[in-house]
């Protein structure tokens, strides 16, 4: 019969018992919120992540001590791995010559750059790099120039600075040729980097790049962290070959026996996104799991509220039956009512879930995606919940004896 009529009826009975209904709806909202919130978070992170991956370049892969995205308890496996030493990295670069372009770099956070009375806030990421770094890592020079091989080997105190430093230290002046202080050492600015925006809420422009040789001396006597090796194959076709070759070279440099596992990670765009995918799957499964548990509890609440509603409206059901409502009308009316209840709770959950996702997006400075498939999923779930948990009360209503029901006060 008339769906609209039943929905209006449902909304009226919600209005008649606002508090009771709202409390029940809340648990549905929480469940849907968890599902949508996780969905939005994942879509948002994925969107941001993929944009950055594309920027990194198709033919590039990295060799690192530990994976860049790591979720779960597998960190134990990586904890005892030896650093990739500068010597190993240099040997690697030498042996890979002609196969692909290799860049070595290392970085550390927490530096404050100073110039006269200006200083940076927040702090700067200091990158020590070789001459291939800018090409391999797609760091585009905006003004000035990059440093070359001779400056790396002679440990020249030169620096290429990101846009944040230009803004914070130079205030409109031309930075090229000027000096800045990092820790206690003075560096001459020879170039500036093109602005890269931000990733996961962190500015990518608060960076200063100095020669790796300077970095090693300047940072500490010993290498305290591992050198990262980035390799760029000359073409897409050569990527697989370059990856294989570099694994072989690295294994021999690290003296691995044939039966031993790699003690380093090779990360291509693809492998990083699959690591990320497993992370986002965890998040999604967690959201879905906690959401579904909450929805189960909500379903019991819905059934309860519907049973109470049937009880309270026994007389009404009697009247409807007396004037000729068949079983299916009564069944239909109460099922529609249960579905309406669930949908209402679901819509509230979707609204706040998407809102939370947008909030997260704003926090990490990316545009939040609305997870359309999860929204549709939620609507479907709410409909199924209404059906599942409304059926028994509706059946009970439809099975009432009209005489008994009419007599009920």
């Amino acid at each position: 019969m008339n769906i609209l009529e039943s929905i209006i009826q449902a909304l009226q009975s919600i209005k008649a018992n606002t508090l009771r209904t709202v409390l029940t709806l809340l648990s549905i909202s929480i469940g849907i919120f968890a599902i949508i919130g996780a969905g939005t978070a994942v879509s948002t992170l994925e969107g941001s992540f993929n944009t950055q991956l594309v920027a990194m370049g198709q033919n590039t892969f990295m060799i690192k001590r530990t994976p860049s995205v790591n979720f779960g308890n597998s960190w134990r496996k990586y904890r005892n791995r030896k650093d990739i030493t500068y010597q190993q990295a240099k040997d690697f670069k030498y042996q890979m010559e002609g196969i692909s372009l290799v860049s070595l770099h290392n970085e550390t956070d927490g530096y404050t750059a100073k110039r006269n009375n200006f200083f940076t806030d927040p702090v700067v990421t200091l990158i020590g790099a070789d001459e291939n770094f800018f090409v391999v890592k797609n760091f585009v020079i905006e003004t000035g120039r990059a440093f070359g091989m001779s400056e790396v080997s002679s440990s020249a105190p030169v620096v290429i600075i990101g846009n944040d430093l230009v803004v914070q230290l130079f205030n409109g002046e031309n930075p090229i040729g000027q000096f800045i202080t990092l820790k206690t050492q003075q560096f001459q600015v020879i170039g500036t980097l093109k602005s890269q925006g931000s990733m996961f809420g962190r500015s990518l422009d608060a960076q200063a790049v100095i020669p790796l040789t300077v970095f090693s001396r300047y940072h500490s006597d010993e290498w305290t962290s591992s050198v990262e090796i980035t390799t760029k194959a000359y073409s897409k076709e050569q990527l697989a070959e370059a990856v294989d070759e570099s694994i072989g070279v690295m294994r021999s440099l690290r003296n691995l026996k044939p039966w031993e596992d790699n003690t380093f990670e090779v990360e291509t765009n693809e492998s990083v996104s699959s690591q990320f995918a497993s992370f986002s799957n965890y998040l999604q499964v967690f959201g879905l799991g906690s959401g579904l548990i909450s929805l189960l509890a909500a379903g019991v609440g819905i059934m309860n509220i519907m049973l109470v509603s049937v009880k309270e409206r026994t007389k009404e059901i009697g009247i409807r039956k007396a004037i000729g409502a068949k079983r299916k009308w009564i069944l239909f009316q109460f099922i529609i009512e249960a579905i309406t209840l669930c949908q209402l709770g679901g819509l509230i959950g979707i609204f706040f879930g998407v809102l939370a996702g947008q909030g997260l997006g704003a926090l990490i400075n990316t545009e939040a995606a609305i997870p359309v498939n999860w929204v549709i999923f939620s609507i479907v779930i709410c409909t199924l919940m209404g059906l599942a948990f409304g059926s028994y009360p509706a059946w009970k209503a439809a099975s009432l004896d009209p005489i008994e029901a009419l007599r009920y006060e």
């Binding site: 019969m1 008339n2 009529e5 009226q12 008649a16 007389k315 009404e316 009697g318 009247i319 409807r320 039956k321 007396a322 004037i323 000729g324 409502a325 068949k326 079983r327 299916k328 009308w329 009209p402 005489i403 009419l406």
Partner: protein
Amino acid sequence: MSTPLIHIEHIARTYEMGGETVHALRDVSLDIHSNEYVALMGPSGSGKSTLMNILGCLDTPSLGVYTFKGLDVNEMTDDDLAEIRNKEIGFVFQTFNLLPRATALKNIELPLIYSGISSQIRKERAIKALEDVGLGDRMLHRPNELSGGQRQRVAIARALVTEPSIILADEPTGNLDTKTGIEIMKLFQDLWSKGNTVILVTHEEDIARHARRIIRIRDGKVESDTINPNPVTSFEIP
């Protein structure tokens, strides 16, 4: 005489209550024809309510034959009975039994919704029915915004809107003051004179005297079934 509208033959109705068998109706036979005005009388516990439920197809007899317009009611499913109630029987109850949250118009539309009539025609017919009982200006009022007499008029309009074969009224004036009661009885008189079949269920002699035929029930049986020699025809308000 033509085929009776209602034909019941030796019907009995028993209930199981707490392991005991209650004989609400023992052996009742009667025929009711089209355009009769019948009062069903009896003290409480006599079985008249059970008889009314059976006549109204809310209940079916345990034994005996009940044919409604030649159709065997005993053979019917719950949904068949619902359809008979919807199309053939107009109920008027002592406590009006309107849906409290629905307007007068919506209440009257309800049986038409269940018979699957389109909303346009439904509305037209409901408005007409409401005008016929003199409440054309109360269409959008809810039951709690109407007086007792007005509520009963809405209930009568609801009973009439499907153009049923029988109006079945259970103590229709029981909750009304005398003056309003007389107005309602006049309405039944008018319906009857327009060709409707009316069955009144009551324990009040004053009300029963309006009917043309009086059937008295006692202890689950028909005690008497007589033509009323002096039906009330004046509706002077005392």
